[in-house]
């Protein structure tokens, strides 16, 4: 089976999410009991909460590709203490998290091999979706040994999805390639992940 990826980026500089780690009901909606205990003991609770959130969102994107009826019930996506796996029922996904003071980026995959991924800042007034596609095309063209113009990112129509389109697909000179990809953006950042 083709390896699948999901990713999520969170801009920690967004003032609107600055205090969510102190909001009991929000935390209870997102975290399992075990995760809540870890959050309470975390040196930086804010970063830890959004690390868990990004990991769950990334894993949900993979789960949704595997199961059309997957729902985003955050507590059911359980992040391991070492932040290296996310479990959803019987499905265990490999997880990679990169976090610093300004952002968190999580990548979940069905394969052990590391996915290609990157995060970039959005230029002022640049549409996030265009910025994400540019980042993905540039990185994939380097990996594939071609030019960015050879790489196209398309989203097929998918009735019933949140915006009417399905997950992004990559075409190389017009032909679909066997690499799953995931795009995300939040605040000042765009990010992508691609299966290896």
């Amino acid at each position: 089976m083709r390896a699948l990826v999901g990713n999520d980026v969170v801009d920690l500089g967004d003032p609107e999410i600055a205090e969510h780690h102190t909001r009991e009901r929000f935390v209870a909606r997102i975290c399992s009991d075990e995760e809540r205990a870890r959050l309470a003991a975390a040196a930086c609770a804010k970063r830890y909460l959004w690390t868990l959130f990004a990991a769950k969102e990334a894993a949900y994107k993979v789960a949704r590709k595997l199961h059309d009826d997957a729902i985003f019930a955050h507590r059911r996506f359980v992040v391991a203490e070492d932040l290296r796996t996310v479990r959803w029922g019987d499905l265990e996904l490999a997880l990679r998290v990169e976090a610093d003071d300004v952002r968190v980026h999580a990548v979940a995959t069905t394969e052990a091999a590391p996915a290609l991924s990157a995060v970039a800042s959005i230029w002022r007034n640049e549409p996030p979706s265009a910025a994400g596609r540019t980042l993905l095309r540039d990185a994939l063209s380097r990996a594939l040994g071609c030019t960015p113009d050879d790489v196209e990112v398309a989203r097929p129509v998918l009735p019933g999805s949140w915006d009417g389109f399905g997950p992004p697909r990559v075409l190389l000179r017009g032909t679909p390639i066997d690499r799953d990809v995931s795009l995300s953006h939040d605040g000042r950042f765009v990010a992508f992940a691609a299966s290896s």
Binding site: F26, F53, F72, A73, H74, R76, W162, D163, G164, D186
Partner: protein, 81 residues
């Protein structure tokens, strides 16, 4: 509470979370909360909590996941009311 009252209250709840305030000017039952109003997934959780508080209902994960449009939220509230 009738549909119009619930609709107005839902729009008021969504207002501070909408990253695309222009879409609020033409908001309707079929307006997409994520695509049109550009409420992100984290803030959607805040919206669900606000709906619970304002309407005195419990919104289960399964119900929350089905809410794509303003009308979905209104109908969910009316169904639980």
């Amino acid at each position: 509470m009738d549909q119009k009252e619930v609709f107005d209250k839902v729009v008021a709840i969504l207002k501070p979370f909408a990253k695309n305030p222009d879409a609020l000017a033409t908001v309707a039952m079929e307006t997409s909360i994520l695509k049109d109003l550009k409420v992100n997934s984290a803030r959607l959780v805040d919206v669900v909590l606000e709906i619970e508080d304002n309407f005195g209902i419990e919104v289960k994960d399964e119900d929350a996941d089905k809410v794509k449009t303003v009308g979905d939220a209104v109908n969910l509230i009316l169904a639980k009311g």
